[in-house]
């Protein structure tokens, strides 16, 4: 009997294949975006895990000190019996992290597998210098002037593991970054504290990459969730329509004696089967989306956080299982209302089709009340939230609240517009639009969310970019940037430049650990380049004088916010070296703390750190000639000299790459919203015949009716767009003033880009019109007899 009933129910889909495709596609799209984002997040987290686990850095305590550990300190501790392993870390090329290890004392780890069982390989590693890199890193490094590469898939991307001696040579240092402390030590050793003044640091989650990038992944997840919600609108409308159209069949089946319980179970099973198919399609799509977006995400993470993420996706069964579960849950959520209605349907209710979501005025009032509550909550969270989670909660409340308020606002706007309507067709258009709002509300909410997200994210990115470009112009005032290989080369080149340029400014920094987190201290000479251009957010009037005198420090905005530093606060930079904060400067795109002190003060503390990088001031027109001359005279490699334009272009390229993913997700979300509109309109076009038939019967040409239909959809889309703009601006404000500050540590001024809104309006209209073309065409193609029958059958 089950089979017979199931067949009866299933026959609906055979007669309405488009509906079935819509349902599967909607569910698959929702799953795809959600699971795609999850796959990206999982891959990124796996990369962080590998990077953190490299050299046991996620587990082993370490010894370190600002400026680095000397070989003598290391050997002294070894000779005191402590089991330690030295690590030298640094960046060589942009995006290549060098990790130098001593293979004789390094903790066992999979990344070094290529050396295992191969004495010659180990000999080459220790003696000749070999870089162990991931295959994709090797591809990127092709042609670079580096020791021979050897592949190891377990090395994190963007990282090269090499012998400690090779690393010191490449990074031009004689220091050791830190000493890893083996977990088990020989018995009876003198305590470490009594042997050394080095700082013992326990692996700390707060400074780890995973923590740092959490906000980014939360962002992605929010986007995925948004897409999922929008996708579920489609599913909801498709399921609702199907159930509505099957009322007659359900009534007949029940009249024939099929129990309600059995019927419900079969309907649920049917939905589950469809969801299963959709999940598989969705996973395939999601995997494709993730694979396509991952290189962009990797670029973003590298640009924003310096995090290295593999650009290739691996398949994770857990990911597949979670995608399946979320699809089934989504289908259940979307189908619950329809099932509930079947359960509540009186046995002998007339099989009269009616729009399934003809919400009553009361429902809209309740919805509006909920919307108001959410919007108030959003405002409260924005003002008093103070955490990243609060920021995202605020975003969610703002978006959902606005979406819920949409039907009421649309109705109010249409009612207002009705007063200005002239002629019966215009009045009918507005009245009919009003009647359609409840039915289309879900699709329109989806459109609102997509448009608002677009406006919001577009404003955020645009504001960021404008600020960033202005900041780059200030910050990159010097015309030429020079990187030398040795102290001798530096002396020779700067000596040559001294009389041939306006100024040669050392660009010199020392990595340190301040307040438990890594930071970079820069030393600057007293020069107008800094006084006139450096982008200070706030400063004491004598900031540059204090710096020059060695009794002041500038900190970047990130550090000031993180450590709650204000002007005048004392800051300990090392043993017996405490100076007040005299200024705070903006430092976009830098994930970590940075400080600036006077060159002399820094050089006095770190006399043996070579100064190899310089910024040169000279007439812009003289730059190309000078580059050619320096290259030839001092045999400098190609990347040793870069002009201001090249540095700016590179910075902007990184910046733009950062938001590639955001843009792609924006387009996808808008596409999904357009699709939701299409399914809703398709549904309506069949149900709205009773409304259209009288108009046709009164002599209005089908062509005119069709145009009116198009105009109405366009009107609704335009109104939704108009409401989406303020919502998007509110969204942008939350992103810039709340989320950015919490996530990255910098606040950006908000700028508006009305041109972008117009484009978005154009796209919204296009999407809406495209979505209504097919339903309207079906109306046009409908034989008159069909419309006539409406009077016979439905009225």
């Amino acid at each position: 009997m089950n089979a017979a009933v199931f067949q009866a129910l299933w026959s609906h889909w055979r007669r309405h294949p488009v509906q079935l495709v819509t349902l599967v596609l909607g569910l698959a799209l929702a799953t795809a975006l959600w699971s795609g984002v999850q796959a990206i997040n999982a891959e990124a987290r796996a990369s962080y895990g590998r990077a953190a686990a490299l050299m046991g850095q996620d587990q082993l305590d370490r010894l370190q000190t600002p400026g680095g550990v000397t070989l003598q300190q290391y050997v002294a501790l070894r000779r005191a019996g402590w089991d330690l392993s030295p690590v030298v870390e640094g960046r060589l090329l942009p995006g290549l992290r060098i990790v130098g290890i001593d293979p004789l004392s390094a903790p066992p780890q999979p990344a070094l597998a290529p050396l295992a069982g191969d004495a010659d390989a180990l000999a080459a590693f220790v003696r000749d210098g070999v870089l162990l890199v991931a295959p994709e890193t090797a591809a990127e490094l092709k042609g670079a002037d580096l020791p021979p590469l050897r592949l190891s898939a377990d090395v994190p991307p963007g990282t090269a593991i090499t012998d400690i001696g090779v690393a010191q040579r490449l990074l031009r240092t004689d220091r050791i970054s830190h000493l890893l402390i083996a977990r088990s030590q020989p018995s009876g050793l003198a305590p470490l504290e009594s042997l050394t003044a080095l700082d013992r640091v326990t692996p700390d989650d707060t400074s780890s990459l995973a923590q740092l990038t959490d906000s980014f992944h939360l962002n992605l997840t929010a986007f995925g969730l948004l897409s999922f919600a929008v996708g579920l609108f489609i599913v909801q409308s498709a399921i609702g329509l199907a159930f509505e159209q099957r009322r007659a069949a359900v009534r007949t089946l029940r009249a024939l004696g099929v129990s309600l319980r059995r019927l419900m179970l079969l309907l649920a099973a049917e939905l589950a089967a469809i969801a299963l198919v959709a999940a598989v399609v969705g996973m395939a799509l999601g995997y494709g989306i993730a694979a396509a977006l991952l290189p962009g995400v990797a670029g973003t993470l590298r640009g924003l956080y310096g995090a290295q993420v593999s650009g290739t996706l691996s398949f994770d069964p857990f990911w597949a299982a979670s995608a399946l579960v979320i699809t089934l849950l989504g289908a259940a959520a979307a189908g619950a209302q329809a099932l509930w209605r079947v359960a509540r349907m009186p046995l002998l209710a007339p099989a009269q089709p009616r729009a399934w979501a003809m919400a009553s005025a009361r429902a809209i009032r309740v919805q509006t009340a909920a919307a108001l509550c959410l919007l108030f909550a959003a405002a409260g969270l924005a003002l008093w939230g103070g955490s990243l989670m609060a920021g995202f909660a605020c975003l969610a409340a703002l978006l959902v609240g606005s979406a819920l308020a949409l039907p009421m606002l649309l109705l109010a706007l249409l009612r207002g517009a009705a007063r200005f309507a002239r002629g019966p067709m215009a009045e009918w258009l507005l009245a009919d639009a009003r009647q359609q709002v409840p039915a289309l509300s879900l699709a329109l909410m989806a459109l609102l969310l997509a448009l608002a997200a677009n406006v919001g994210v577009g404003t955020m990115v645009g504001s960021f970019r404008t600020t960033f470009v202005g900041w780059l112009d200030q910050r990159l005032a010097p015309e030429l940037y020079l990187t030398t290989r040795t102290a001798e080369e530096a002396a020779a080149v700067t000596g040559y430049l001294a009389s041939r340029s306006d100024a040669v400014l050392p660009n010199w920094s020392v990595p340190v650990t301040l307040r438990g987190a890594p930071a970079q201290i820069y030393g600057v000479v007293d020069h107008a380049t800094y006084r006139e251009n450096w982008p200070l957010l706030s400063s004491r009037t004598d900031a540059w004088d204090s710096l020059a005198a060695g009794n002041g420090v500038l900190v970047n905005e990130q550090m000031a916010r993180r450590d709650r530093l204000a002007l005048g606060d004392p800051l300990a930079l090392g043993d017996g070296w405490t100076v007040p904060v005299v200024g705070i400067y903006s430092d976009y795109g830098n994930p970590s703390a940075q400080l600036i002190v006077g060159m002399d003060a820094l050089a006095a503390r770190y006399p043996d750190q070579p100064q190899l990088r310089f910024a040169v001031r000279l007439a812009p027109a003289a730059v190309p000639g000078m580059i050619a001359e320096l290259r030839q005279r001092f045999d400098l490699p190609a990347d040793a000299l870069r002009d201001q334009g090249a540095v700016k272009a590179a910075s902007l390229r990184i910046f733009d790459q950062t938001f590639v993913v955001t843009g792609a997700l924006n387009v996808l979300t808008l596409g999904v919203a357009g699709f939701a509109l299409l399914t809703s309109l398709l549904t309506l076009s069949a149900l709205r015949l009773p409304q259209v038939a009288p108009v046709w019967a009164m002599g209005v040409a089908p062509r005119r009716i069709a145009l009116t239909e198009l105009a109405r959809t366009a009107l609704l889309a335009a109104l939704t767009w108009a409401l989406a703009v303020p919502v998007g601006l509110a969204l942008a404000w939350v992103l810039l003033a709340v989320v950015n500050v919490q996530a990255f540590g910098w606040r950006l001024p908000m700028m508006v880009f009305p041109g972008g809104w117009l484009w978005l309006g154009f796209w919204a209209l296009t999407a809406a019109l495209l979505a209504s073309v097919w339903p309207v065409w079906r109306l046009l193609a409908m034989p008159g007899g069909h419309l006539l029958r409406v009077f016979a059958n439905d009225r």
Partner: protein, 356 residues
Amino acid sequence: MIARVCTLSFSVAWLCIASIVSAQGFAGLGTGSDGFALPDPDKTFTFPLDHGPHPEFRIEWWYVTATLTGADGQEYGVQWTLFRSALSPEAGTGWQTPQLWMGHAALTSARSHRYAEKLARGGIGQAGVSAAPFEAWIDDWALRSVADAGDPLDAIELHARGADFHYDLSLNADGPLVLQGEQGFSVKSPTGEASHYYSQPFYRVSGTLTLPEGAVAVTGQAWLDREWSSQPLAADQDGWDWLSLQFDDGTRLMGFGLRDGSGTHFTSATWISAEGAATAYGDGALTLEPLEVAEVAGRRVPVRWRVALPARGVTIETTPLNPQAWMGTAFAYWEGPIRFEGSHSGRGYLEMTGYQ
């Protein structure tokens, strides 16, 4: 538990280092010598210079074994070894040095066998050997001369530490250095592979062993071996059995047999009078016959031997203090104190390599 000392040691480095003492034809030891110096039968030893390292040779060791008796009446054995292995025949400085070092230490009693292992690179001061003043060290383990006059090896201090033991011993020589083989040129195979090899077999020992149960004062005897080479094994040899025997009458006997694939020994022995006069015996003079095989660390290892040197009327049978004296280090072998009875009696040390 004991193996935990090795957790920091890098899982692959051993292959390289292990080649130094490998009796299994590892890593080209039996084949070529890649620019390394070869032992010279006409070499004249110069002390204290030759106590120091010979970086032009591929492998070298400073090897001390001691048979001790505690104030508690228990017998103990102590091993302290520093191995040098060169990737190429030059000293080098800093991290770039091709000289790698490995230390092994063990403390054996009838009930337990504890050991530890250290790896280090030369060139940075973490491990090495200096001839004058004499010191051989790796991390905090050290073999250090405290001799005021005479040969630096006449009086030395010995220290090593593992996860659950450490020891500090003073060694004083009652006799001269002894050159093994033909004036220190020790032949290892019929095809002529050889090493430079000398010993100090006359140490009196006193000191302290520290175990989890507490410290024990000990006294006894010790034996130091110095050996270096570039290709000590022939291609068909896969292990060796080595003994140092200290007879109750003050005589010493060093003997070893290198096993080929068929289990046949290429043997060599040195008879050392109580005054230090050495007589070398070539292949065949000494015979080694396993009497009892025990299961040790999942392998079958002969732990009791009949040792005969008919030319000196020696026929003895050895018994280990602890049959499970397995060095489960990166390069694994059996090494432990023994007692022997028969034509002569006394105590000594047994080392067996190449048992799979």
